[in-house]
């Protein structure tokens, strides 16, 4: 279980939101979903269109491609940044190894926030540009 108050800080632990002031984060947090996946469920399949960003709060998630195990994501790991920003198809599948609680931010919510609040737009823009620009 995740309480609403911790979401800003869970967000802050991810590089995308690292530089966000706490008050802005709590606004973003109000728009995040808390999702729960039971053990042994498939969270998404390779080839699915991704539009969600996830930060794991508890539990373990196995990312795999065909029979190849890629990575295990656990507490405070994040994934899906490209999915959030670019609507790309997943190149891996995700499977819940145990019961999983995650904070999920979906693309439409992010862009809605960006269009409603210029602070958020600026912060996201700066965070993304400063990390990906060569």
């Amino acid at each position: 279980m995740i309480s609403e108050n911790e979401i800003p800080f869970i967000l802050k632990s991810a590089p995308l939101f690292e530089k966000f002031p706490v008050n802005v984060l709590s606004m973003v947090a109000g728009f995040c979903d808390i999702v729960y996946y039971e053990e042994q469920s498939v969270i998404f399949s390779e080839g699915d269109i991704g539009s969600n960003y996830y930060i794991v709060h508890s539990g373990q998630i196995q990312l795999f491609r065909k029979d190849k195990m890629i990575e295990v994501k656990s507490e405070l790991d994040w994934f899906g940044e490209f999915a959030l920003l670019r609507n790309k198809r997943w190149d891996v599948s995700a499977f819940a190894l145990s019961d999983v609680h995650m904070v999920q931010l979906s693309q439409d919510v992010l862009f809605e926030l960006m269009s409603e609040n210029q602070d958020i737009a600026r912060l996201i823009m700066e965070s993304v540009l400063s990390r990906y620009r060569t």
């Binding site: 195990m69 809605e112 210029q118 700066e126």
Partner: protein
């Protein structure tokens, strides 16, 4: 071909797929009939009816075995591979059977007949696994029945053919034909998989290593799956019972074998005729129109009524009525079962990735099991209880009633399940709704829980500590106060801030010494400010320190001291801090005044409204912004009018709206007054409406409702969306108004479609057409918004979101869900307008619009000029006005002259430019205008002739021609044209120097620019190129200089223009953001 397609309710774009699937179904049908005839005849040749039960039982068991195997395998392989394997297997077995039938033995014929039952299930799996993947849920409802009529067709034809063939051939040769049919089907599937690879997409196969042994079913027994299994199982039960009852009735009714054959012959003929008709014409149409529920309840209803007739006949003592009761029951079963079986395949769809395995389970395991079970029960009933037609009719009535109940429940569950197939989106005004979270609240008072949480305070993860702090504070925990001080040494500044906040809130005086020590070490600025503030508030010793610190060097310390002193509530503190604040307020330096505003914001004392009011009227925009922020925190209603006055500055619209929002309903009077005062400035009106929508009070909704008939499309659009944001619900008295609005949208859309249609005959009108197509999307958005006012808001909103995604599958599910929400009377009206993506398809489906490519007497440009303002947005009208300027004849001159006095500068400028263009082409026009028009008009024309005007339309198109903006709709770009500067530089001019900070993007329209690093030319740019983008959004000095090489004309967009664009709506934000990533970062 079109007519054929229309006859069968097939849409043009689906025609190819339907034909291919029909062919596939024909092949399957031939394979089935050849196996059946050959197997049955050989069996009857060698064995008698007495051996039949053994075949049934053996086949039942074999089917279950194969079903289980198939089911297991399904989790390891892709569905398409399964189908291919299945067909290959059937081909192979048919060949083997052919081979062993050549042996001189009796047993192969028994095997061959037994094989038929297995084949039946395997074929059904092969067909449905593929067909249900290829057709989406809405097509399935319409087309499944039609496609499977191919099978009926093949059965009839194959039956006739094999009768003819059997006289020449040994029946075993028919297995060769069956083999060929399956072989061709196999090849066809390979082609289908290639053609429709996007539909037959792959699903993740969870590797063996990850799966837990005990959880390998893949089938999830939730209430919906159970309902489905029950529905199909009872259906099977009834089939067998009915068949027996019919045979029993037939035996008693008919006197001899000849009569039996006669009745059976007629029966089959009638059944086949009606069946073919129902499947190919009726079923799809009825289900499309009335929904799946018809397919679900039709058969149970018919059988129920007819069984009742049988029972009635028995009670009345008429055997004739009794017999025809069961006769019609069997007939309706024969006709409707196929329809039901095929149409109800759509019921599996909402199960998504589990659909295939559930279907396999039902077909391969559940149905054969029922088959065996029903057989056993019948044996008992006949042999021990000696039941007959009359008793069976009672059993049938009983079973059908249960069946009906299950059917209704299934339909309800189906409608409930649909939303889950869509991307869930949290609806903006229900922030506190957490769909997937278990309730946390109850555990609050549990002591055990609290001690657990207390341990969390020691965690090294900031979010855990803060969560624990919140939790314990809410629970009123005593221990919390004691644990605050040690936490001050945590390394994370966020934790320290939170702790300090609580110390202030508790007025925890004894913390003073510890805080003072901390102040000396603290590095983080925000924490420092907070520290000082807390020191001043909690004790009088701190007050003195605060007064001293007012003179400190660091701004953060000063701020903390001032806020603390103001908040301390002690007169001495307020006097000192007030004096310091006064100096800042009156300072000529902008940053000082901003500082003052920030202090006022943090102090958050309502009584101090006077200085805030002064700052709100400050000439500097940054100060104004800071003051607006402070106002939003302080929320003193006295300030509302001062806030609203800032609306005259377009760049402050966003901030003002946010600030007004903070006041909530209190601001409504001001909003209404300002609205009336500025009723010509569209952007102010839009900002006000948006704010009213977010306020969400009764008064704001009333205000918005009044604006629904505002005669301007841009305002109407904003109003409806704001009503949606306000969570408006229609009550009874609103329904006429609502219906009027819906009708208006339909009428508008019809009008727009008609214009688009007639535009196809007018050259160079692409721009108007594109903008009109965009208008359609806007209309749809409004329709969904309007629907959400009356029906389940959450579901409609969810449907809209999924509908607007560029994701075909989600769009289809969204439409299907909408069908379950909206009542039929509106659904039939609305669906044609939203169902298809392309306007050409829409045209076909909406009645009353002339056919495509048929010349219409309407002049679309004239229509737009005449009635545009109530039906389309500003941009489309400007396009039409601009286009009118191309006509040499003075066809539109009058309308154009009228538009020059429009209150919107965009419209009037475009109209003037259009007239100027006309003057160029038509020398006589000038004289005519001189004679007839007012002197002011002529003056204006002369002025524009010399100075030029804002060329709204051309500039918008130019903007769109740059890669960065190409993904955006022109109507969105039109919103920033007035903010774009056009700059002209001569050769040698330095646009910016290396090291300079200039957050602008330049788009070159003409000339050349060299990007230089010292004396080295890095790159030469010309028309169509853009530069400055990488430093525009992130505040950084330029790494190189830009020098004009050949005289240039450029667009210059400052950073705030881009952010303004982002704030138009989330869709624009998404597109622009992606484009920025593409153009600035490159593909990631």
């Amino acid at each position: 071909m079109n007519k054929v397609a229309n006859l069968f309710n097939v849409r043009e774009e689906e025609f190819g797929m339907v034909m291919r699937l029909f062919f596939y179904s024909v092949l399957i049908g031939f394979g089935r009939i050849f196996s059946l005839i050959s197997g049955q005849s050989l069996f009857l040749e060698n064995y008698g009816a007495a051996e039949l039960p053994y075949v049934y039982i053996a086949a039942g068991i074999a089917t279950i075995c194969i079903g289980t195997f198939y089911f297991r395998l399904g989790k390891l392989t892709q569905p398409v591979t399964m189908v291919k394997g299945n067909l290959l297997f059937m081909t192979l077995v048919c060949f083997i059977l052919y081979a062993i039938l050549q042996l001189d033995a009796k047993w192969p014929s028994m095997v061959a007949f037994g094989w038929f039952f297995l084949l039946f299930q395997l074929q059904s799996l092969a067909f449905w696994n593929l067909a249900s993947l290829m057709l989406d849920i809405r097509q399935g409802k319409r087309l499944f029945a039609l496609i499977t009529s191919g099978e009926v067709f093949a059965l009839a034809l194959g039956g006739l053919a094999s009768t003819a063939l059997s006289s020449m051939w040994h029946p075993s040769n028919l297995f060769l034909l069956a083999m060929i049919c399956h072989g061709i089907a196999f090849i066809e599937v390979i082609f289908l998989a290639r053609i429709y690879s996007d539909k037959l997409r792959t699903v993740a196969i969870v590797p063996e290593a990850l799966r837990k042994k005990e959880n390998t079913t893949g089938l999830k027994l939730n209430s919906y799956t159970i309902l489905l299994i029950l529905y199909f199982a009872i259906s099977e039960f009834i089939l067998i019972f009915l068949d027996n009852a019919f045979n029993d009735g037939l035996k008693r009714y008919a006197t001899d074998t000849v009569e039996i054959v006669k009745i059976l012959g007629n029966f089959s003929a009638i059944a086949a005729l009606i069946g073919l008709f129902t499947r190919s014409f009726l079923a799809g149409w009825v289900i499309h129109r009335y929904g799946l529920i018809v397919a679900l309840v039709a058969l149970p209803m018919f059988i129920l009524v007819n069984s009742a007739m049988t029972v009635g006949g028995a009670l009345a003592g008429s055997f004739l009525v009794m017999f025809y009761g069961i006769y019609f029951a069997r007939l309706s079963d024969k006709v409707l079962r196929g329809v039901q079986y095929s149409s109800l395949r759509t019921l599996y769809k909402p199960l998504l990735e589990r659909a295939s395995s559930t279907q396999t389970f039902v077909d391969g395991i559940a149905i054969p099991s029922t088959f065996i079970m029903a057989g056993c029960i019948l044996l008992v009933l006949y042999n021990y209880l000696h039941v007959g037609l009359y008793e069976l009719a009672y059993v049938l009535i009983f079973l059908c009633s249960i069946w009906l109940l299950i059917a209704v429940r299934t339909q309800i569950s189906y409608a409930r399940l649909l939303p889950k197939t869509l991307i869930h989106r949290k609806v903006d005004n229900e922030i506190n709704m957490r769909m997937d979270m278990e309730d946390v609240g109850e555990a609050m008072d549990d002591e055990e829980m609290r001690s657990l949480i207390r341990k969390e305070l020691l965690s090294d993860k900031a979010f855990r500590v803060i969560h624990a702090l919140d939790y314990l504070e809410q629970a009123g925990d005593e221990v919390l106060k004691r644990s605050l001080l040690p936490l001050l040494s945590t390394s994370d500044p966020n934790v320290r801030l939170q702790v300090l906040e609580r110390i202030e809130r508790f007025r925890y005086e004894s913390a003073y010494d510890a805080l003072e020590v901390m102040l000396k070490r603290e590095k983080d600025e925000r924490t420092k400010t907070m520290l000082l503030r807390v020191l001043c508030v909690i004790s009088s010793k701190g007050l003195k320190k605060g007064i001293d610190m007012l003179e400190a060097e660091e701004e953060s310390v000063q701020k903390g001291a001032m806020v603390g002193l103001l908040r301390s509530g002690k007169l001495e503190g307020i006097v000192y801090a007030g004096a310091a604040l006064m100096t800042r307020l009156g300072s000529p330096i902008v940053n000082d005044r901003i500082f003052a505003a920030q202090v006022l914001e943090e102090a958050n004392i309502g009584g101090f409204y006077h200085p805030v009011r002064k700052l709100l009227a400050d000439p500097d925009f940054e100060v104004k912004e800071a003051a607006l922020k402070a106002t939003a925190t302080i929320k003193n209603p006295i300030l509302i009018n001062d806030v609203a006055q800032n609306l005259v500055h377009p760049s402050l619209h966003g901030m003002v709206a946010t600030t007004l929002l903070a006041f909530g309903d209190q601001a409504m009077d001001t909003i209404r007054r300002t609205f009336e005062k500025h009723d010509t400035n569209i952007s102010i009106l839009k900002a006000l409406i948006r704010t009213a929508g977010l306020i969400r009070s009764e008064r704001s909704i009333r205000f918005l409702k009044e604006q629904l008939d505002y005669p301007h499309m841009n305002i109407r659009q904003e109003t409806i969306l704001s009503l949606k944001a306000a969570g408006f619900r229609c009550d009874k008295s609103d329904i006429p108004m609502w219906e009027k609005q819906i009708d208006r949208e339909m009428e508008n859309m019809r009008w727009i479609l008609m214009l688009i249609n007639s535009l196809s005959h007018i050259q160079n009108s692409e721009k108007i057409k594109t903008s009109l197509v965009y208008e359609i999307q806007v209309h749809r958005q409004r329709i969904f918004a309007l629907l959400s006012f009356r029906f389940n808001r959450k579901k409609v909103n969810q449907a809209w979101y999924n509908y607007s995604l560029k994701h075909e599958e989600k769009r289809i599910y969204a439409l299907e869900m909408l069908e379950t929400i909206v009542p039929r009377e509106y659904r039939l009206k609305i669906m044609p307008f939203i169902e298809s993506d392309r306007w050409s398809q829409m045209l076909k489906r909406i009645k009353g619009i002339p056919e495509v490519n048929q010349i219409t007497p309407i002049d679309p440009v004239n229509e737009l000029l005449k009635a545009g303002h109530e039906k389309v947005t500003l941009w489309t009208r400007c396009c039409a006005i601009e286009y009118a300027g191309n006509y040499p004849a003075n066809k539109y001159t009058k309308a154009l002259v009228k538009y020059t006095v429009s209150l919107s500068t965009e419209i009037s400028c475009t109209a003037y430019l259009a007239i100027l263009k006309l003057l160029h082409t038509d020398p006589f026009l000038y004289q005519k205008i001189m004679d007839t028009q007012m002197p002011e008009f002529i003056e204006k024309i002369e002025y524009f002739k010399e100075h030029g005007a804002l060329d709204y339309v051309t500039n918008t198109s130019l903007l769109k021609s740059f890669d960065l903006f190409s993904p955006l709709a022109e109507s969105n770009l039109a919103g920033i044209v007035h903010m774009v500067e056009v700059v002209n530089y001569l050769k040698g001019t330095i646009v910016y120097q290396k090291g300079e900070v200039d957050q602008s993007i330049y788009l070159i329209l003409k000339g050349k620019i060299r990007i230089m690093d010292e004396d080295m030319i890095k790159v030469e740019l010309s028309a169509g190129d853009m530069f400055g983008e990488s430093t525009c959004l992130v505040k950084e000095p330029h790494k190189s200089s830009a020098v004009v090489y050949v005289d240039v004309k450029m667009f210059r967009l400052r950073q705030n223009v881009l952010y303004h664009l982002i704030s138009i709506n989330s869709d624009v934000a998404r597109k622009l953001f992606n484009s920025i990533l593409d153009n600035v970062v490159g593909p990631i």
